[in-house]
């Protein structure tokens, strides 16, 4: 667990340094994710079990870590109430459209052949 946290926080810290020192237009954690992907890319079949376990633990509860920022809806309540129509239409409309646009493009462009394994595990509904 300590090793896993160390690797994850180390990548984030390096990402944070790159973000600040060279004004890379991505936040530290996202640069850290790219860095860790590149590091693990050297031997993709040998991700250390400690790291995989730690990552699994964090990712199983990824939603939890967004909760404190999400409660900010309380702080913005008056503004949202005043302009609820443009906010709601913009939010719902753009989310639905971008979701469909992304799914449509990958659906049309992706090769369908190597999918035998994936299809069997596809959602049934």
């Amino acid at each position: 667990m300590v090793m896993a946290l160390l690797v994850l926080l180390g990548c984030q810290l390096i990402g944070e340094i790159l973000h600040r020192a060279f004004s890379v237009p991505l936040p530290g954690p996202v640069i850290g994710m790219v860095l860790l992907t590149l590091l693990l890319l050297r031997n993709p079949s040998a991700v250390p079990e400690s790291l995989a376990g730690g990552a699994r633990l964090l990712l199983q509860n990824l939603g939890l870590f967004f909760v404190p920022a999400g409660v900010g809806i309380v702080a913005n309540w008056d503004l949202i109430r005043q302009q609820w129509l443009p906010i709601c239409t913009g939010l719902i409309g753009s989310t639905v459209l971008s979701l469909l646009a992304t799914a449509f493009v990958i659906h049309c462009l992706a090769p369908r052949t190597p999918l035998a394994r994936e299809q069997s595990a596809s959602p049934k509904d």
């Binding site: 990712l59 920022a69 913005n76 443009p86 459209l97 994936e118």
Partner: protein, 241 residues
């Protein structure tokens, strides 16, 4: 008598991390339990349930949001290493990503552009202020990127955070329904769409459905963050005022 005693104790505790973290964990756990009990009802998203419960608790105890946010840092802090950890499902699913990078980049880029253009356009069409439009523009990106871009566009960062998270919840709860409606099947479009339109929360949802979906969502979160931070300021620059 008991009330006289609980009030000062509550006053002392409500600004502490112990109180904020415990309330957050209880609310989220209740959300998870509710989601399990109401299997199939997507609206029972644990993040949404937790936000509502905590919002109510803050009102009841007269705690300000800023005080809560400062005290809940131990939880918010873990968002950083959790984002880095998305590299692991990406690596584990590398085989499935290989050979389709161009398709992935095109799909995420179009999704990102559509989110920004329709976000600004709809807000302005329905009479929203420019401030709201600028807060809406980068909201498809992962929350920290969205906030940074909103700041540079003179939007309202805390509103952008709320919009990014609500958009993630919306994407998570409507994902299966919308893709079913469009007759698009498979974990790859599902994951990529969840990560592009719903960033971290969409990715968390995709990951809870299937590993492949999670990997595609993780890639989409990273790519969309990059594309949004480059593209949206440019788009706004040329957007008619």
């Amino acid at each position: 008598m008991a009330g006289d005693l609980t009030r000062p104790v509550l006053e002392q505790l409500k600004g502490t991390p112990l109180f904020a973290v415990t309330v957050t964990l209880i609310s989220y756990q209740l959300g998870v339990t509710l989601q399990r009990l109401c299997r199939g009802i997507s609206l029972m998203n644990p993040v949404l349930v937790a936000i509502l419960l905590i919002g109510g608790t803050l009102r009841l105890t007269g705690t300000s949001y800023d005080a809560y946010l400062a005290a809940a840092q131990p939880i918010a802090f873990l968002l950083g290493p959790a984002t880095v950890a998305l590299a692991v499902p990406i690596i584990h699913n590398l085989e499935r990503l290989r050979g389709m990078w161009i398709a992935i980049v095109l799909a995420v880029a179009l999704g990102s552009l559509v989110a920004a253009v329709s976000g600004i356009g709809l807000v302005e069409f329905f009479g929203g202020s420019r401030e709201i439009a600028m807060s809406m523009a980068p909201k498809a990106a992962t929350t920290p990127i969205a906030i940074a871009v909103a700041q540079s566009l003179d939007g309202i960062p805390s509103l952008t955070a709320v919009l990014a998270i609500t958009s993630g919840i919306l994407a998570a709860v409507s994902l299966k329904f919308l893709l079913g409606l469009a007759r698009i099947k498979g974990w790859r479009p599902l994951g990529l769409a969840a990560g592009t339109a719903g960033s971290g929360i969409g990715a968390a949802h995709a990951l809870s459905l299937h590993g492949t979906a999670g990997a595609f969502a993780g890639v989409a979160v990273a790519l969309n963050g990059l594309i949004t931070s480059l593209l949206v300021p440019l788009l706004v620059h040329f957007w008619p005022k």
